[in-house]
Amino acid sequence: MQHTRYSFRLLFVIALSALPLGAAPPPKPTPWYLEPVKRPEVPAIAGQSVNPIDAFIAAKLKDQGLKAAGPAAKTTLLRRVYLDLIGIPPTPADLEAFLADTTPGAYEKVVDRLLADKQHGVRYARRWLDVLRYADVDDTMAAASGINYWRDWVITALNEDLPYDKFVRAQLTGYRDGEYTTINENGNRRRALPRPFDLFALGFIARGQVTRDGKDTKELQTAAVETVSTAFMGLTVGCAKCHDHKFDPISRNDYYAMKALFDPLVVKRVRLASEEDTIKYDGAYSDYEKKKAAAEKQVEDLIAPYKAKLFEHLMQMLTPDVQAVFRKQEKQRTAAEEKIADDYHVVFKVMSSGLKEYMPADLLKQYTTLQKASDAIRAPAPLPEFWAVEEDTERAKEPSYILTNGEPDQPEKDKPVEPGFPFEPKGTEFRDGRRETFAEWLVAPENPLFARVAVNRLWGWHFGKGLQPNPSDFGLLGGRPSHPELLDWLASEFVAKGFSMKAINKLIVMSDTYRMSSAADPTVTAQNRAIDPADKMLWQFPLLRLDAETIWDSIFSAAQSLDPKVGGKSFQVAGEEGGRGRGAQGPDAGAKSSDMQRRGIYIQRGYHQSMDVMPNFLLAFDADDGRAPCPERTRTVTAPQSLFLMNDKLVTDASARFAERLRKETNSDIPQAIDLGYRIALARPPSAKEKDAALTYVNADPSQLKGFTWLLFNLDEFSYAR
């Protein structure tokens, strides 16, 4: 068995020598990210915090002569943690209760409640789905029908705090637990049955099956390699599709070995209907078939003579020998004649337009009527379905090859590859199956990349930036972590806590570091900025622009029209049909929105070569279309964003509803309404100056409150978490 595997060390030397650095640096044995995670000592730091995170952060600040900002105001912290953990701002009642609770455990109670809230899974699923390249539409995506079941699986998994190893294993294999086989009392081993719900986890891989221009792109495998490696390994293995990775120890062979893990996979449609519904559907379908056949026969009977005439006309375009072939019965043609018939077959593809010229006008009318009647008979709406993947035994027998430039149709037949993966331990046997064996290596507590990459992602979602600056690229170009010890400590803690994501999330948001103010006092700021202007060491909490979905949810929750329902089909934004002068929207992925707005995660997204899929709102606020894994959102500040908030009908309508709410809840008492408006939109009361400005604007006229609520939506602070 030919199994090319380069010595890891040798390859790295080659990689380094390819760097344009002048003198070759001394070879390093192992890149940092492959070093085993060692749980570092928590630095001893004087202070009240018992949270090791604070000790690591404080130690670095001290080292660099930086001074930490003080704690954030209670109001600021509450809005921050709500927007972070559930993506919806606190209500005035939440705010009041928190301000009134002066016990030491008040904040922790809030954190526990938010982590247990169903909307927490919704918020964090959206973050994961960026990384895992969720899309409702991607040209002709096989899995498009029912893809939302995968999205909803992710939401549920996060809400149940499914341990991260199981979270990943389930999406790779369909089995959350590593028990792929069972043995019965007779000693016969057979494939174990996975939990039925984990079928939906396989949407992750099935999503890659895409047809563009009527051609299977064969992207499923390459998409799997590129998404799995960036999302769970923090490696840009994709570079090795065309050439050995220039900077990291990943060869072309590694890439295609990893691709071979997924080569036997095919997508599989799974019907989700109950027995009863299936039987009912069949009845309806038989009915449809009968009616349709009858209607089609009427059309066929009517046109048959004219079809024959058209046939004769078309025959005149052909040479006599070819005509002779077509006059023969299909079964009586020789192989050579059959070839000729095939060649000229298209000439005879009868078009209804051509047919019309041979029909008298009255018959033509009758024909049109009958055809219309036939077209109107439609098959019953399909039963709900989901697309998963399964291993095809025939495909599993075929060898895998390196592909020239990654082109599926250009295998290099002299370069077969065996299934494998980068950094595969020697002597790995793929006994449980290709993906299964890989998954077991990947999610093992000893794998230094697995936990590191995950905790860094979680950290980045709380602080806007990972400890390692490129969450999907831990390689040489990805940069080095700002706090390597903290990263390792968190990674080891993650393993120790049984890969509980909620445990790590809680640990982080409970830290004093997370609870810091985002505006240190001016003297501290001036001193710190001289040393660390980019706040890499976290001497203050970063001011974060909210992502598209959080802005959406904030607007509609203020207007009291946010529908909290979890899961279900995605929807199209009302008023977006042809909104950008670019014509119709993508394939209908669900209902249009109405008065109630569903959360931003459910806005249809994706890509289609000839239709608009992404609504203007998502594009303007930097949401990705899911074509490639998106490791972190860009946060631009642009005029189209301002135009949306200033003039879009969605915002104007929401302003009116928000104003109506204020009028109702305050009996049109303007000072009270202004106060309440601030509490709803920004989770704090207005300052004296702000209240003055608002009072001046409203000018004692309750009808001006909708202008006031518009102002709230357009405030800088509304779009930021401070």
Binding site: R580, N616, S719
Partner: protein, 462 residues
């Protein structure tokens, strides 16, 4: 080290940071300070003939045989080894179908134009017809990528032509975008800045009262009221802005609102045709049912040229495969020709009478031509990337010229063949840029925006 994601799509973040600009997610509004102008510092660079480009892209594939490349019907019925489109690359037998158009020689140059384009025929002495383009891709989407980005395939996310111009020249008007699109394209690629990033993408414009999405305040809001709102907004933002004065995002937000306000002022007058005399509206066919839509787009294009917009792309009959995709019956070309004929001629006449034609390059093109035969009967035509026609006018182009030729039936380009990227090279050249120096650095690799072809078509340049 500045970290990036090698090989994959450039992350938008990196593109924006690279140019030190703030990006617009839907347009090149911000590119006015473009610091990169390849060729600008080059003493050898070609003289700038054109200040603006109007690109007319006919979506779906126009039949050259029925418009600008007449063929003798004596070949009708000839059975040919045809290479079909898409997956159907195996040779098939197909009879050449007759062309049902009549052609007339127009102008002093006597260039023949079909009876579907009489008005364009009337200005043929300002037009250089190139009948010998070819490209690789024979299906719509790949062909649109190839003809608009000058590159095949999806290995890299190539930018569309207008974004190159944004990138190279920047804007001449800081209240308007550099690169504008009107009409529905066949593909989002036609609007995309690709790996250059959203900064250089097209800003979609519409004729009518709302040229840019969300540009106008709600109808029931008075100007005075909006001004009062903006004043109150500044006051209510004040404390927050003072507290975060050092944060670049917050200062950018102020600028974004200012630019939004400037666009609210500068864009509506642009689309307000109230002061255009009736004679001008008539010239573009505005007011006539069939020509109004395209006519308004072309008139708006002229007005944008006057304001310094660099690249105006107008996609005609886009969406899906494009309406010019006449497989079933060539007669479906007729209304499309009628919708575009008068407005195009009007645009050329209007620019000429204003003395603007010399500095405005007009390019009429499509994703491929159509075959001499039909797939079905004898009425429609299939895709044909082996030979097709595009034409140029103004911007230093030699009018009344015919260049290149296809074979006797119009299947393959045979004389003075030009790969589709020669269109790009010609545009770039007339804009005063050296097409060989149109490069983009990305991930430590140099990307040449034009790699194939022979460069500018010298024979049609005055």
């Amino acid at each position: 080290m500045h970290a990036e994601y090698p090989c994959g799509r450039i992350s938008r973040r990196n593109a924006l940071y690279r140019f030190g600009l703030l990006g617009s997610a839907i347009g090149s509004i911000w590119a006015q300070d473009s610091k990169v102008a390849p060729g600008a510092a080059d003493p050898q660079k070609p003289p700038q003939k054109a200040k603006s480009v109007i690109l007319l892209f006919m979506c779906g594939g126009v039949s050259h045989i029925d418009t600008f490349d007449p063929k003798d019907n004596k070949f009708a019925g000839k059975i040919m080894d045809a290479i079909g489109f898409g997956d159907n690359l195996a040779p098939r037998k197909r009879p050449v179908i007759p062309c049902r158009r009549t052609f007339k020689n127009y102008g002093e140059s006597g260039i023949p134009v079909s009876d579907w384009y009489p008005n364009v025929g009337g200005v043929i002495d300002d037009i250089a017809v190139v009948r010998s383009f070819w490209s690789h891709e024979t299906n719509h989407f790949p062909a649109v990528i190839e003809t608009t980005t000058a590159h095949r395939g999806r290995q890299f996310d190539w930018p569309t032509m207008g974004s190159w111009i944004s990138y190279a020249l920047g804007s001449a008007n800081q209240n308007l975008p550099v690169f504008v699109n009107m009409g529905r394209p066949s593909s989002a690629v036609q609007l995309s800045g690709g790996f250059m990033g959203a900064t250089f993408a097209a800003t979609p414009f519409q004729t009518g009262e709302t040229p840019i999405r969300d540009l106008n305040p709600p109808a029931d809001l008075s100007v005075a009221e909006r001004n009062r709102q903006m004043e109150a907004l500044a006051k209510m933002n004040q404390e927050f802005r003072e507290e975060y004065a050092l944060n670049s995002d917050i200062s950018a937000r102020l600028k974004a609102y200012e630019l939004a306000a400037r666009m609210q002022l500068s864009a509506p007058p642009l689309v307000d045709f109230a002061n255009e005399p009736k004679s001008v509206l008539d010239l573009y066919g505005i007011g006539e049912k069939e020509t109004t839509d395209f006519g308004r787009q072309l008139l708006l294009a002229r007005r944008m040229v006057e304001k310094g917009v660099r690249f105006i792309q107008i996609c005609h009959a886009g969406g899906g495969n494009g309406s010019w995709d006449a497989h079933v019956d060539m007669a479906t070309h007729e209304p499309l020709c009628r919708a575009t004929d008068k407005p195009i001629a009007g645009l050329i006449k209007d620019l000429k009478s204003r003395g603007m034609l010399d500095s405005t390059l007009i390019v009429w093109t499509t994703e491929f031509g159509r075959t001499p035969w039909s797939q079905h009967d004898d009425k429609g035509r299939d895709h044909n990337a082996m030979g097709y026609t595009s034409w140029f006018a103004g911007g230093g182009i030699k009018g009344g010229t015919v260049h290149g030729a296809t074979d006797e039936v119009g299947y393959k380009a045979v004389e003075n063949r030009h790969y589709c990227s020669d269109i790009h090279a010609t545009i770039v050249n007339q804009m005063g840029l050296d097409y060989k120096k149109m490069d983009f650095q990305y991930n430590g690799r140099t990307f040449h925006l034009i790699e194939e072809g022979d460069g500018p078509i010298r024979q049609i340049i005055a």
